[in-house]
């Protein structure tokens, strides 16, 4: 990844490359109801409660201050300058490549591999948001070190933290689906992988992703080294969706343990605190992530998006190596 941006580089970026008109529409519309925050020194946002009544004011501010980082609230307020009279909030899912619980690259920070994995996870989340939950108005933002999913569907924007936590758990597959079902006094076993729709399907997809990406350095509390080896040895069955064989080979009791552990691990796919926080400020799309010298930007096509081609500011190419 790139080196941090200097003050000179930040100035160049905001004066020559950044264009206030390129802010996504979902930010521009209702901008005056959002709180803005800035980090001028690279030590975290210390300049908060700012509001901008027009794009022109924001443009002047950014050009003049060239902040280390710029943020705006996910919330809309009647009094954004006081963070008071909350109206609604975007529903956010923050997938930071550095914090994904299972990364095959094992790098210290972020690299092409884990950013690719973050992208894969985000694609899965979008499918569930649209397919299962039927949500619209979903925006993908490349944050500089991962992705933000920003949902502006009016049906969810007034929802409280408790429902947001439930949506999060559904999306990442952290709740183990029940395997016992009953009707008219009789009980039947139905494992998640034999139900090809609804939440069991979501859980199956996340479980498969996790098991196929497990690396030897991953530690799972209740999984013994012997069981871990067995899982790695048999996981190729999942590539061909031979779930029965996979379960049989590692043993049904062990399978139960594994399912529980993977569910817990999945909770780390997304930063839960961001999703449940109704008053969070989030990096402003189009602004500069100065720590890594990359642009935070809206992604139009997640499949084709390559941050190393599209999110690198011009000054990086002109640096002396």
């Amino acid at each position: 990844m790139n080196e941090p941006a200097t003050l000179q580089e930040r100035r160049r970026y905001y004066r020559e490359e950044w264009n206030v008109k390129k802010l996504p529409d979902f930010i521009k519309e209702g901008m005056e109801q959002r709180e803005f925050g800035f980090d001028h020194l690279g030590k975290g946002p210390n300049d908060r409660y700012r509001i901008f009544r027009s794009l022109e004011y924001l443009k002047r501010f950014m050009r003049y201050k060239s902040p280390f980082a710029a943020y705006c609230s996910v919330a809309f307020y009647d009094k954004p300058f006081k963070r008071a009279d909350w109206i609604k909030s975007e529903l956010i899912f923050d997938v930071d490549a550095k914090d994904i619980p299972i990364r095959t690259c094992m790098c210290d920070n972020v690299c092409e591999v884990c950013l690719g994995e973050a992208k894969e996870i985000v694609s899965g989340l979008i499918d569930t948001l649209k397919g299962d939950l039927g949500l619209k108005d979903i925006h993908v933002i490349y944050s500089g070190r991962g992705y933000h999913l920003r949902v502006l569907d009016e049906t969810v924007m007034k929802m409280d933290s408790d429902i947001r936590a439930q949506i999060l758990k559904y999306l990442v597959g952290s709740e183990v689906p029940r395997s016992e079902y009953g009707t008219e006094g009789e009980k039947y076993q139905l494992e998640h992988f034999s139900i090809p729709f609804g939440y069991p399907k979501v859980f199956t997809q996340r479980f498969k992703y996790a098991v196929l990406h497990l690396t030897p350095n991953i530690e799972m509390e209740n999984i013994s080294p012997a069981l871990f080896k067995k899982v790695l040895k048999n996981r190729t069955y999942l590539l061909t969706d031979e779930w029965g064989l996979f379960r049989k080979n590692i043993g049904p009791i062990n399978y139960k343990k594994l399912v529980k552990e993977i569910g817990a691990l999945n909770m780390g796919l997304v930063d839960a605190k961001v999703s449940i926080d109704l008053k969070r400020i989030l990096r402003l799309p189009t602004s500069l992530h100065s720590k890594v010298s990359m642009k935070c930007m809206e992604v139009q096509n997640i499949e084709k998006f390559d941050p190393f081609k599209e999110a690198v500011p011009k000054f990086v190419y002109e640096r002396d190596d």
Binding site: D132, L133, G134, T155, G182, T183, F197, G198, Y199, K273
Partner: protein
């Protein structure tokens, strides 16, 4: 045919019944039709006249009494209350429901334990009444109620927002597709038949959705509507003078509930209150007492520590007993709350970085609210019930809200709530203490250093007397949380 009003007292049919016979001035009148319905109920025990409600108010009180006994009394006998499950009781039961709902709404806040108990009672009574019906009757009445509750053909999951928020249902328990909850068989088959292989799609529908999910949604929706109704009555009662009979019923409910809860919890040995043993605190609580960094402070102090310390000190058995208690049930004059619990919470708040009350002085009001005394500076008996006495958040919730504080140790693996950890660890420590004491007594009866043992106990137990609490507060500036250990 069973009436929808038998299960849903908020249905159009039920409202019609109330309009026809619900005259408030007659609710204390002896009602021979009601007595007849009770007398002729299958399996009804007739050995004690007290079991037979003779008027609407008595029927309303019997409803409450049934639920309290069923929940708490080992000797609960279904036959004493069999009339509640007789469909012939419907028209009287609907009136009794409204008497209860209005009396509770007038006298108590919608967050009060009385309201909560009433809503739970309604859910439970529906469940038990469903059990009394044949499969076809069950299916028929459930469908009719759902048709009335859910007006559109396809119900969106967002329609259940309130039920999901109150955790009456979890999102992952529903079968969702394109934002819609799949309840109807034809709809299910149309959407998923192609995807199902090696199994009969109709059988899959019966197993995954069928009657249980429909019934679950129906029950939770009626519970939610009951809660909303009580809330509406509460708001209305601020503007309109309530009927004296309803005020009287409210008093009766309050008395019955207090007496019963005291009786059952005391007989279980649950409501004694114990001195705090900081050695038994789980890691998340120890970390919170040490002071928390900005970002986690509010949740850690207000949501986690306040409920944990109050229940650990006053009623650690809350999850076992599963009752709704108020602080004043255990601490009638609030002396323990004011002199022991609050100083510990305030101390921890001031140890945060930056100190919590310096930034957010209004969080003191939130702490009072979480103890069940509404939004006020300090807990006072007159305000009790304005809010709910919050139980400590579960470990699952801590992992989401306060991941930085979740540093599990061996004991954590076995439990799902910090309070359960505290109970389990306290028990272990007491047991170890007893064994240690016993063996040391056996070894050398004469060499017991009593003063040291007393000192150890002082270190282990946080129980500042009113005087000591002042001292503790002052010392807190120079101590860190490890001094509690």
């Amino acid at each position: 045919m069973v009436s929808v009003a038998f299960l849903n007292p908020l249905s159009d049919k039920a409202e019609q019944i109330v309009r026809d016979i619900g005259d408030l001035s007659k609710i204390y009148d002896k009602n021979s039709d009601l007595i007849h319905a009770v007398d002729t109920s299958k399996s009804q025990s007739m050995s004690d006249n007290q079991n037979i409600p003779e008027n609407y108010v008595e029927l309303a009180i019997k409803r409450m009494e049934w639920y309290i006994k069923k929940k708490n009394d080992k000797n609960y006998n279904y036959k004493d209350y069999a009339f509640l499950f007789n469909r012939e009781i419907t028209r009287f039961d609907v009136v009794a429901f409204f008497i209860l709902a209005q009396a509770i709404g007038i006298k108590f806040n919608s967050n009060s334990r009385e309201s909560k108990l009433f809503v739970d009672l309604q859910g439970n009574i529906i469940e038990e009444r469903l059990e009394e019906l044949s499969i076809s009757e069950r299916r028929d009445v459930c469908q009719k109620i759902l048709d009335e509750l859910i007006l559109q053909d396809n119900v969106k999951w967002t329609f259940l927002e309130e039920i999901l928020s109150s955790k009456k249902i979890s999102l992952h328990e529903l079968i969702l597709d394109k934002g819609e909850i799949i309840l109807d068989k034809e709809d299910f088959l149309e959407r998923f038949s192609d995807k199902i292989s090696h199994r009969n799609p109709e059988r899959m529908y019966e197993l995954l959705i069928g009657d249980p999910v429909k019934e679950l949604i129906m029950i939770k929706m009626i519970m939610q509507k009951t809660e909303d109704y009580v809330k509406k009555v509460n708001e209305m009662s601020q503007k309109v003078e309530p009927h004296p009979y309803l005020l009287e019923v409210g008093e009766k409910i309050s008395k019955i509930l207090s007496e019963n809860i005291k009786y059952y919890t005391t007989s279980h040995g649950g409501m004694k209150g114990f001195k705090l043993n900081s050695e038994a605190f789980p890691p998340c609580i120890k970390l919170t007492l040490n002071g928390v960094e900005s970002g986690n402070r509010n949740d850690a102090i207000v949501l986690l520590l306040t409920s944990f310390l109050s229940y650990a000190r006053l009623y650690p058995s809350i999850f076992r007993d599963n009752v709704s208690v108020k602080i004043s049930d255990v601490d009638p004059e609030l002396k323990i709350t004011q002199n022991e619990i609050l100083p510990l919470i305030y101390d921890a708040a001031q140890r945060c970085n930056p100190p919590l009350f310096d930034d957010d002085p209004q969080e003191k009001l939130n702490i009072t609210a979480k103890l069940g005394f509404g939004v006020h500076e300090l807990p006072e008996i007159k305000n009790e019930g304005e809010s709910k006495w919050y139980t400590p958040m579960s470990c699952d919730k801590i992992k989401i809200h306060l991941p930085a504080l979740c540093k599990p140790d061996k004991t954590c693996k076995k439990i799902g709530n910090p309070l359960s950890y505290y109970k389990s660890k306290s028990w272990q420590l007491n047991k170890q203490g007893d064994n240690k004491e016993k063996s040391s007594k056996d070894k050398d009866k004469n060499n017991v250093d009593k003063s040291k043992s007393d000192q150890d106990n002082v270190n282990k137990v946080i129980n500042p007397s009113p005087d000591k609490s002042v001292k503790n507060t002052k010392e807190a500036d120079t101590l860190n949380g490890s001094d509690f250990n």
